[in-house]
């Protein structure tokens, strides 16, 4: 099996995997970074969202062989102890119900706020396309605004 050197959460790691293995499964099965979730495998639900060079990307269809020069950040690397403003806002507003999709939502929101520190509702609606079946969308929108305030206050 081929070997790949990847930059994950600021560290270089070496993994053995088939070239077509999606990053999602490399993270979960090879690196035991299970915060990134599997939801659909077809880049629709966004539960598997990670940052590739700072951009929110769905990792379930991203082949490991194409990531040699990319900086990959997962929820485990977003902050060491949950101190990222988006994570804090999520906790403070008690966004989650089942919680399964929320890592993907948080990663998508964090990337959005990096690009656009003060998004309007319309911009949030356009950029955050992750699915949540529990129906936490109203709190998600509020948490993104709250995180934006936190970032601005820093």
């Amino acid at each position: 099996m081929p070997k790949y050197n990847l930059s994950v959460n600021g560290k270089m790691v070496s993994v053995e995997a088939d070239a077509d293995t999606p990053l999602l499964w490399v993270l979960r099965d090879n690196l035991n970074l299970v915060g990134t979730k599997y939801g659909c495998g077809v880049a629709q639900c966004g539960a598997c969202t990670v940052h590739i060079d700072g951009i929110a990307v769905r990792s379930c269809m991203l082949q490991v062989s194409r990531l040699a020069n990319s900086k990959i950040v997962t929820i485990e690397g977003l902050s060491a102890t949950g101190t990222h403003p988006v994570q804090q806002a999520w906790e403070e507003l008690d966004v989650a119900q089942c919680g399964y999709c929320q890592v993907g939502q948080i990663m998508a929101a964090a990337a959005l706020l990096k690009e656009n520190p003060h998004p309007t509702d319309e911009q949030i609606d356009k950029e955050i396309t992750n699915i949540c079946r529990c129906g936490t969308q109203v709190r998600i929108r509020k948490a993104i605004h709250k995180a934006a305030q936190k970032i601005a206050a820093k």
């Binding site: 088939d18 659909c40 495998g41 403070e92 008690d94 089942c98 999709c101 936490t136 969308q137």
Partner: protein, 701 residues
């Protein structure tokens, strides 16, 4: 340090001996992480509470968390009466054990069933700790109170922590009864409490079944029949076994499992299987349902489920008959965490860990199928990525156990989304025909004739009981495509049809929808006809509350409103949906919801459940549809099976609960049934188009 541990372990054993040995049985079921906590436990008066000499209070969450909030709200009930500092407690998900009573989750029942028993659990332990304090100070227990993990002697102000009292409390008799708090003294119940896993969720900790990792564990994927009506004929696994990482292939009765060292290898191995499936049953097309439903309804049910007065006689003298048909398609559960289960079945023992709403049933089925005594089967339940009724079937856990038993290896069986879509117990497709007779500007009769896949609907609109002439009849259309409970079973789509029709009746009568409901409740109260399963007064209150919240009746420029209400799982929900036209298209702007669910335990969680049920119900009404062609689901994943996304969600959902000291009623489901109608009624107000079929987006064009 080791001396302390030894001492507390001895104490622990002594306590469990004194109190009936309950915890000792539970102890063997806990994983290693919990065992470390237990080493310092000195006071465990029952299965739910453990207090250590360090003052750490551990509370068990007896029912699994599927997103309904019970891992937080159930321990809140214990903590309320135990009088502890919420910030200092630990919460552990309970493994399956008869000591914890019914550990299933469904029917919005966990809080309903446990409200008083769990408070008693907390109150009993509190009384023992108070008794221990009183004994230490040689004062009467009546002079002592408990507060935030301390027993306090009121007159002297002396205090001892629960940790300091734990050893003595453990030697005291367990009181037969313990007084419960007056609701006005509640410190936790009714407050906003953050989900106990909020931090773990936001930091991506391994909370879910899919995150299970064990020594020597293999990952498995299963090839199941590609359509209902097909069964396994033969399999050639030569190519599959050659896939790098594939370790084993196991054939079950009607499926084939591939076991590998990674999920991806298991998936590739599965793809390499060469399987012949035989057509052994009917290969159904869901497009045929409409005709079959119509035929059934036209024939009529042999016996109506309710038949007040004489709708046929009334019809003869009617000046107008409103006769309309509503229809809903089958939908999948689509819980965000695809099914999975860990199983380790070896040497006549089984360890199971994974998402289930019915652990007792799972144990029973595994015991029966693998011929393992129930006491040799342990079941642990992680936090679950949604339930919505899918896991009321234990098929995922049973299958994992069978695979592990055959392979003699620990295995994590992972379903793909496509597996979930094709192997579900769907929300049944249904048709609802409504006929109402009118004369002299009055509603004379209401006839609900329904047909649904596999089981005829049995519930009624709340109008039953307020009207002299009412009939309802439900019939099932037998199918080999399995159906099951889907959040607010039956109510979920009946609420849509009945409350939309109610709006049509109001339009016909030129009555205000809110005023008309209030008339219904007044009649149900003053001139009831037959059985009435709800409280008209309570229903009236939620309708009035949501009307006030939404400024119902006062026009707002650019806003069109729709109203609906429903009673289910013991609770009342009334909703107003506001629609705005944006670029010529209706957009759901805001939703108001008033709920009476008795006592609210966790205000944050309760509000989240209501908001979630509204978005869930709205999203499925607008977008979700499954189509079966020759027994195979055509919408195989989320590219074609559509979900509501943020852009379709209302900007705000305002929720109010009617203040109540009544025992809690259900809350995970009751806010779902009325929302589809509230949306459809608002769309009618905005566009003049009446939607009688889900999904709405296809009807709206």
């Amino acid at each position: 340090m080791s001396t302390t541990t030894d001492f507390s372990r001895r104490q622990f054993l002594k306590v469990t001996a004194v109190t009936g040995g309950g915890m000792l049985i539970g102890f063997s079921l806990f994983n290693e992480a919990n065992a470390a906590v237990d080493a310092d436990v000195v006071f465990a008066p029952n299965a739910y509470i453990k207090i250590g000499i360090d003052g750490v209070v551990s509370l068990m969450a007896p029912n699994p968390e599927i997103g309904q909030g019970v891992k937080t709200s159930l321990p809140m009930l214990i903590a309320e009466e135990l009088c502890v500092d919420w910030k200092k407690i630990r919460i552990e998900p309970a493994p399956l054990d008869t000591k914890f009573g019914n550990q299933g989750v469904g029917g919005s029942g966990s809080i309903r069933g446990r409200f008083t028993p769990l408070r008693q659990v907390g109150a009993t332990a509190r009384e023992m700790l108070i008794a221990a304090g009183a004994q230490k100070w040689s004062v009467p227990a009546t002079e002592c109170i408990a507060e935030e993990g301390m027993v306090i002697h009121k007159s002297s102000g002396k205090k001892l922590s629960y940790g300091e009292l734990a050893t003595l409390a453990a030697t005291l008799p367990v009181p037969a009864t313990a007084p419960l708090k007056n609701p006005k003294d509640f410190k936790f119940i009714g407050t906003r409490m953050r989900d106990v896993d909020a931090h773990a969720i936001a930091t991506g900790k391994p909370l879910f079944g899919i995150d299970t990792r064990r020594e020597g564990m293999l990952f498995a994927m299963v090839s199941r029949a590609p359509a209902y009506g097909k069964t396994l004929s033969s399999v050639d696994d030569t190519a599959a076994r050659k896939v790098t990482g594939v370790v084993d292939v196991v054939k079950l009765a009607n499926s084939v499992a591939v076991l590998a060292t990674s999920t991806w290898a298991a998936k590739k191995g599965r793809e390499a299987l060469v399987i012949q499936w035989a057509d052994t049953g009917k290969l159904e097309n869901s497009a045929d349902y409409t005709t079959s439903f119509k035929d059934l309804i036209a024939k009529g049910a042999p016996t109506p489920s309710r038949n007040d007065g004489d709708i046929d006689a009334v019809k003869a003298g009617a000046s107008k008959i409103l006769d309309v048909v509503y229809e809903v398609p089958p939908v999948s559960h689509g819980q965000m965490e695809p099914l999975n289960f860990f199983a380790d079945v070896r040497d006549g023992k089984a360890e199971l860990y994974g998402p289930t709403q019915v652990p007792e049933s799972l144990r029973r089925q595994v015991a029966q199928q693998l011929k393992i005594p129930a006491e040799n089967i342990t079941i642990g339940m992680p936090r679950q990525g949604g339930g919505f009724g899918r896991k009321l079937q234990a098929d995922n856990g049973v299958e994992a156990a069978l695979i592990s038993a055959a392979a003699k290896k620990p295995v994590q069986v992972q379903w793909t989304r496509e597996d979930d879509m094709q192997n579900d117990f769907y929300r049944p497709a249904a048709m609802y025909q409504y006929r109402a007779a009118f004369a002299d500007g009055k509603l004379l009769s209401w006839h609900q004739a329904t047909a649904a896949i596999n089981r005829g609907p049995r519930n009624d609109s709340y109008i039953a009981g307020s009207l002299a002439n009412y009939r309802s009849e439900g019939q099932g259309l037998t199918s080999n495509i399995p159906t099951g409970a889907w959040r607010a079973p039956e109510h979920n789509t009946l609420g849509f049809a009945a409350e939309s029709f109610m709006d049509e009746v109001c339009t016909e009568l030129k009555k205000d929808p809110v005023a008309f409901r209030l008339e219904i409740f007044e009649k149900a109260k003053s001139q009831p006809v037959g059985r009435i399963g709800y409280s008209p007064d309570k229903f009236k209150k939620v309708v009035e509350l949501v009307a006030a919240m939404s400024n119902w009746g006062k026009p707002s420029p650019g806003i069109s409103r729709g109203f609906a209400c429903w009673f289910s799982f013991g609770s009342y929900a009334a909703q107003v949906v506001e629609v705005k036209m944006v670029a010529g298209k209706p957009r759901i702007h805001k939703v108001y919801c008033a709920v009476d669910c008795g006592t609210v335990v966790n205000l944050s969680g309760a509000e989240n459940q209501v908001q979630g049920a509204i978005i869930d119900g709205m999203g499925h009404a607008m977008f979700a549809k499954l189509t079966f062609v020759k027994g195979a689901a055509q919408e195989t994943n989320f590219h074609s099976y559509k979900f509501l996304r943020l852009k379709d969600a209302p900007l705000d959902i305002e929720v109010k609960f009617v203040p109540s000291e009544d025992a809690p009623s259900g809350l995970g489901e009751p806010a779902l049934p009325p929302i589809a109608a509230a949306v459809a009624n608002a769309l009618f107000a905005a566009t003049g188009k009446r939607i009688r079929k889900m999904p709405f987006d296809m009807e709206m064009g």
